[in-house]
């Protein structure tokens, strides 16, 4: 009796403008469409102005608190390496941290983002590429991911985002 059904805890972190909230919207919608109970919590407001942003997503059969308890994150996604330090302590033992470095080959190190359109776009869609990496670690049907991507992105961005999502799936270094 009183045993708690397991809840999966994800934190997505970065700086305002890196697509943290967008990524958490997509993930939340995907698990919602997969039929889970889900709660997502983040802070809007002053944090928009270039400050750090973090979003907590929790899902399972029943979720109570909307916030990931300290040190209990199963997965943490960070949009840039320098943001990792602020949230790493939230990772539970055996949890997975996904950063841009977890996707070897996603960004061509020799390319100049000002010169190369593909590199610029890939950097901008790092949030979706990391979700692609995460998707290999979660039991969410592909169709739910696809629907969630389309529901949260403008039509003209679908094709490229589906591509980087797939890239993230293939490249992720588990």
């Amino acid at each position: 009796m009183h045993t708690m059904k397991p809840v999966t805890n994800v934190i997505i972190a970065g700086v305002g403008g890196q697509g943290v909230v967008k990524a958490s919207d997509i993930l939340t919608e995907a698990v919602f469409r997969a039929g889970f109970d889900v709660k997502k919590s983040e802070i809007h407001g002053m944090s928009q102005r270039g400050g750090s942003v973090a979003s907590d997503i929790r899902f399972g059969e029943q979720v109570l608190s909307p916030m990931v308890p300290p040190g209990e994150a199963d997965f943490i996604l960070v949009m840039s390496e320098d943001e990792a330090q602020a949230v790493e302590s939230q990772l539970k033992e055996g949890g997975t941290l996904l950063t841009p470095e977890s996707l070897p080959g996603y960004i061509d190190e020799d390319a100049d983002e000002d010169e190369d359109e593909e590199t610029r776009l890939r950097l901008r869609c790092m949030n979706v590429a990391l979700l692609g990496g995460l998707s290999t670690l979660l039991d969410i049907p592909d169709s739910c991911w696809r629907e969630a991507l389309c529901a949260n992105l403008p039509k003209r961005a679908w094709e490229f985002n589906e591509k980087v999502f797939q890239l993230g799936r293939e490249l992720v270094d588990k």
């Binding site: 700086v15 939340t28 919590s41 809007h44 407001g45 928009q48 608190s65 209990e72 943001e83």
Partner: protein
Amino acid sequence: MSDPLERLLLSGDAAVARAALDCGVHLGVGYPGTPSTEILEDFSRLGGKAEWAPNEKVALEVGIGAAFGGAAALVTMKHVGLNVAADPLFTVAYTGVPGALVIVSADDPGMHSSQNEQDNRNFAKAAGVPMLEPSDSQEAYDLTREAFRLSHTHQIPVLLRMTTRTCHSQTVLRRAAPIRITEPDVYQRDIKSRVMIPGYARPAHRRLRAKLAAIEQEFNASELNYVVEGDRALGIIASGVSYMHAREAAPEASFLKLTTTHPLPVALARKFAAGVERCIALEEGDPYLVENLRAHGIPVEGKDEAYRFGELNVGLVRGILANAPAPEPAPPKGRPPQLCAGCPHRTVFATLARQNCIVTGDIGCYTLGVLPPFEAMDSCVCMGASIGVGLGLRHVLPPDEARRVVSVIGDSTFVHSGITGLVEMAYNPPPTGHLVLIVDNGTTAMTGFQEHPGTGKILDHSPSSKLSFEDLVKSIGITRVHVIDPTEDMRAFSDLVKECLDSGELAVVIARRPCLLAERKQTATERAAASKSCTP
């Protein structure tokens, strides 16, 4: 109409908006403030009639009028907004309303985007209005509807108290079948209820207390409050998001989930406390439940004072339950916010820093002028305070010091509560004069680019009457009024500030330059509107 049983994933704010629509709210009115802002924006998007008022006091007064007219009115604001609206709140509790009036107070424990973390549960008790507290979006939806029902049934304004976590967390909910609570009809005169001269207010106060006593009885039997049977060794009384944290932190415990936190269902709490060995009231912020339950002789434990500060979470609740010593303050989280690159406020604060001004600041993005590299702000108290505080300093400082004082206020904040400060400036001018800088970026940027009377557009961005700051300032009796784009010629702006300070006169400089982000957003909205109107 969409299937009412459809599963939805909504924030608490969006859930309130949806519920308002589903129970026939006639008018939503408020002033933007994180974390409450999205309620009226969503209500408007869903087709409800919603408007931004110049400030929360006016918003509540408009809501009162609508409810006097028999309508269902929703008034929204952040916690500190209720301070501004406190004057009408305390008396509309006496008058009551024939329609229905629900006020949302969105508190911000932890001060994610606020200047204090006041606990507005105390307002419900002080004003004598019933209060409901949701703990997730489903409850935000259900309780909004319940608040309107309660308000209409008992002819009393009701406070729906939310917090940042319930406002901004997205959780799953199902709607219920739409209903209509009340409809405005021929005006019913009731001067003894609504004209609060002392002779009518004295019986009105007694009527209010009788209503609250009846509501307390209703709450004692209400399904909104319920017991979750568990181990009798530990009984936890909790409400709002704290209930969710506590259920998770102590899944084996017995719970009394309180949804109606004013008036407290005392009989229910007494019975619960008597049935458990250790009874603890677990709450974020002030010891509201603990003190009020103890005042009724119910033996409940509270939390250590060290846990009063900031938000709770599952980890902190475990600490409270284990009587653990004070938690270490959480380390500052990552990068602090800053003024955007290219933000026109940057020029303003660079200038004020260079001229070594004493800057009384105000509430908005520009409060970030306090941070490096500018550090050009000396005070920020509440909406509109820049002007009054600046005048006070000017009155008492030695003349050479007084001449350095400048008040900085944003456009939306100026309309909210800067105008009376300016009237004071003209009426009681300091001997050294004064300079008020209105940093006019043409939007309420901080809360997400809402319109206000100075933008000449209403909540849904359609055009309306536009308040001219320069004409208003002149009509108050201030003759030295300048309008300048601070980014066009930084030197000219700097010279103008110096000239005003040196003049020893009363001066208002309107530093006008649109917010970069708002401009971008506006262009996108206009593009979308244009493409829509082109579609057959």
